[in-house]
Symmetry: C2
Subunit: 132 residues, 2 copies
Amino acid sequence: MADPVSGGERISDAEHAVMEVLWHRAPLTANEVASAVAEGRGWSLATVKTLLSRLVAKQAVMTQPDGKRFLYSPALARTDYLGGESKRLVERLFGGRAAPLFAQLAEAEALSEADIAEIEALLKTLRREAGR
Amino acid sequence: MADPVSGGERISDAEHAVMEVLWHRAPLTANEVASAVAEGRGWSLATVKTLLSRLVAKQAVMTQPDGKRFLYSPALARTDYLGGESKRLVERLFGGRAAPLFAQLAEAEALSEADIAEIEALLKTLRREAGR
DNA sequence: CGTAGTCGATTACATCTGTAGACGATAGGT
DNA sequence: ACCTATCGTCTACAGATGTAATCGACTACG
């Protein structure tokens, strides 16, 4: 069976930008989404509508009627999406091991002081959980 | 001018599989690459040749003549590629912060014991370097 | 009641990607 | 000097993606 909700269809880069808007605030009309996403990207309203349609088709966004128009909301949790994408990358590039990813980021100087501190804290928590 | 080597053109998923072969062993003929990559993927020789051509066009692979044929070698370091891709993901999905990525992987249970240990060790090293 | 604006839906089209067949040069065997 | 196997190159084509115009339905103003 095709999975009902989470990792169904692939969400593209442009679509992701739209999701990001909806994760930030929802429900929104197509116009609101367009305005929000327009900052930075120079997309026309038509483009945003297309992206919304595709997302609805992929069941990543759900609609609810509001008079003559729709209100759009995410049907996919941001956490699920991020988790899936992260896992995909680790799978594809690092044979499923997260440690090399980390080493890579370190080498590419993509780790800030704050990152390191946070990760450290996270590790501590993880070890506590694993321990008990 | 188009940048000379590193982060130039985007390398696709299928192309990446070919790069992986060349990173493992090079230089290789198209046939050798095809055999190597064929395990798992069911690609025809023609397909692999196309991918090699595209990689050459993208300057991710370099050729050296060997009689009537070519020997292919990576022109892009694996490290650079991995670093670039990792950074792209972190940028795109986590606003450039690596820590949330880790939180995400942890949540998705994509962190093994070994991963955690390795990351811990790496952190120690990093802090030492940063300290001095 | 008609007309203009607004929506979502449909259609469009270039580029990229995955996948592969066809073609032309050529080297090696006979 | 041929024929054939082998290369790399060119061409092909379907599906995904980025980007947008157009269309048909409906609403609201006048």
